[in-house]
Symmetry: C3
Subunit: 345 residues, 3 copies
């Protein structure tokens, strides 16, 4: 994680981004803003043609953009092939979070005696770290977060406040867990004896790869037998549920409110829109996109974009159509009969 630099010039930024600076590099830069809002000591960017209209009137110190948009830029510029990537890297320079970290264990934290702490670990107020835990260098455990027994957390991973990581979880390097998320709660497994439920103890764990991010209030359940596995560089938004023994391939991204049922396997470089549901025991191949709030109940073997649902409309119009949906099989059969009846013999 790059820390905030005190005196960052445009030339420093060009070097950091490996961008081509056109104009004077001496200006000190205080921050990052949109084309519209940028003050004369802030850098703006064009990552989307829709915002090009704001370029001529920007007051930014400089604009990060693609070379093809350079000529209409009224101020110094930083040219890059992928200005959105440039924006990402630049934003990290101005992130105030790392600068607040205080290496050491807060006196109110409860850390078991046999915990292994790497260099510069930060453990915040009222955090709890149970027996057998290993925290590698520069791990940050936020206030009120709990790390269960025998869990291992890799270098530079950050738990924001009030995160819960249960026992026996393995977390990679540079992982970010946002507040309220729960890693390693029990999967939902019960056997029925004809009258009532009997709990299946969830004996597996959770493995999060390197560079995983998990949003606030998301749940990743532990495996029943064997682990729930989230691959490297998987990005998970807020309010997501990932059930026991799910596996998610590297570099996939899951938007908010996604729910994935037990034992489903999602490939690499997949993207699930907000509110998507995947049934259990499916296999979704690499490179699949599912649009928002679609339900997938069968495995997908071809990369591509998948959807379900009806699209929204005015409620009065919708009511009429929704009633017809219930007649749809009948409509189709009537149409077939009519086709037969009117066919010239």
């Amino acid at each position: 994680m790059t820390h905030v630099l005190d005196q960052l010039t445009l030339a420093d930024i060009a070097r950091h981004l490996d961008a081509t600076l056109v104009g004077d590099g001496g200006q000190a830069i205080r921050g990052l803003a949109t084309l519209k809002d940028a003050e004369p000591d802030e850098v703006a960017f064009v990552a989307n043609r829709a915002y090009l209209k704001d370029l001529p009137s920007t007051r930014a110190a400089a604009v990060l953009l693609h070379p093809e948009h350079g000529k209409t830029c009224p101020v110094p510029r930083l040219e890059m092939e992928n200005p959105y990537l440039g924006y990402a890297k630049l934003s990290q320079l101005f992130d105030p979070v790392p600068a607040r970290d205080r290496p050491g264990v807060h006196p109110s934290a409860i850390v078991a005696e046999d915990v292994t702490l790497g260099a510069e670990v930060c453990i915040g107020p009222h955090a709890v770290v149970e027996a057998g835990v290993v925290l590698e260098a520069k791990v940050v455990i936020g206030s009120g977060s709990v790390v269960g027994a025998d869990t291992m957390i890799g270098e530079e991973t950050r738990l924001y406040p009030n995160v819960t990581v249960c026992h026996g979880v393995v977390i990679g390097k540079r992982v970010i867990l946002h507040s309220g998320c729960v890693i390693g709660g029990d999967g939902f497994g019960f056997a029925h004896d004809g009258a009532r439920w009997h709990k299946i103890a969830q004996l597996g764990g959770v493995v999060l790869g390197d560079d995983v991010e998990v949003g606030s209030c998301s749940s990743i359940d532990r495996g029943a037998l064997g682990d729930t596995v989230i691959g490297d560089d998987v990005k998970i938004d807020s309010q997501v549920q990932i059930a026991h023994n799910v596996r998610i391939g590297e570099h996939s991204a899951l938007a908010g409110c996604v729910g994935i049922a037990g034992s489903t396997q999602v490939g690499r470089h997949c993207m699930l829109g907000g509110g998507v549901g995947l049934s259990g025991h499916l296999t979704i191949c690499d490179g699949v996109q599912v649009t928002g709030m679609s339900l997938v109940t069968n495995s997908i073997h071809e990369p591509g974009v998948y959807s379900s649902g009806t699209g929204s409309m005015n409620n009065a119009q919708w009511r009429k159509n929704a009633v017809r949906f219930k007649q749809l099989d009948d409509i189709a059969k009537r149409l077939s009969r009519l086709e037969k009846r009117t066919r010239t013999p």
Copy 2:
């Protein structure tokens, strides 16, 4: 917030509600209940005609109702034009929560030295309040809640236990944040370099207006650049996700499990049903209602009620119709062909 009164008579209540009392005002009132369950020292109410059937047999001390229902009331009554509003105001008189507040900082709380505390602030056990925070008068911070650096919280705002408010958030007056909610976690922003994701630091904040309520386990993410803004008197239920840079207009209400994607703007006096999803970058005008579990993928420019989905039915019937949905375009084309073919020339 009105505190529980020790000896509250019917006359006191009539005065508090600005209701017309018909009958003796001397009865001491202990609480509030439904027409059916009310004991002789409790007040009941009729806010919905469906419950009028329970009126003749009620044992309540008095009934809060519209004047038009007065004559069938067998006990003293409190007449108001809006008895549901009267019920709301009355319920607050009997709320036991404020009476339990203990002004002061619990010795186990960790409060940074430079925090500004207004009069009668209550900070509960194991709460954490970071540097630079301002808590105005009568703010309540529940047990285990964490308030991040430089956050400002207005008068009489209440954080229930185990709430997380991240750094640099601005919260208005009389706001209620329920347990487990997270205000100001990172928005979900990443740039792709063709092989992997790069995090976009979320440099904006969150602004909650006055009288906002946020339900348990809901997430309101901080802005990427600029703030996520929730207007005055917006009511948000449990399990809701509000992504970065969303703006919600005053007096709107969002039911449980709603998800709103990044940068969408919702107008004033909107109502989103449970589980509704709004795609990103939309504009929803004032006065829009969306029915439960509908997905909205386009901006809405006319007030009204909007819906998507199919309605539920018996699974056997549904299966037949759902199969036909996949043939719908074909059905429509066949119908058109048939219409042409059978048109008398």
Copy 3:
């Protein structure tokens, strides 16, 4: 809760499960695994015909299975009519969680003076137990969990870390509450005065029966007047929202991301798939199943399986069909006209 046994032989297990052991019972058993992964000191099981293919090559110490599959088993076996139930009971023997409980109150926990603590209660670091609470024998309160005033918790109930139980909640015996869940937050109730919202204080409570389980980050709201009631042996997954005054009958199971709106009553032995939504004020009879992500807006009076939605498909195909859905009422009318027009007179 059964604790891990140090030296458990196959004969011990057969006795515990009331299974018929075929083969030598002397082997010491260390754990439980799938047919494929089991080591020679682990027990495997066949609860699903799909896994029978792995039976001939298993290296397990023994296999738990139905008598009809006994003859193809290459190793000692434990025969039972319901091997999945056997697996559940067996899994509990190897659950490492109970063995870590430390009876007593951690010195960092804040426990009010008048709290009633049963025998062998465990209260973890930084937990908070407010005034008037009763914790029966063997209750476990995890690190950072908060139990509100006057709440009662029955024998052997376990709160994992960072759970919030609000004031005046009644919880049965052997209940399991997973991290991040919130029991007894306010229901979502407001009266509108024509211009703005007025909060309805939520004066009811929550009652959880015996043997209830609630997943991580789920919300069960307290009643407005009267209680929200969850029957015995109801199993609730993660990310679920249950609104005020809902009632769920015994032995029902709710998968992840379910949302149930206010005052709806769900019968006994119901099963709601992931992401299902139930509107408010409905009555769902006993024995109803609703498939994943269906929305139910009307009461259901017949047991059976219910569904809504369209099924997912390739996005290009879906777009065409979704457009036609908006024309569905028109299509149906055109078909009727055509039927009339082509009817032989």
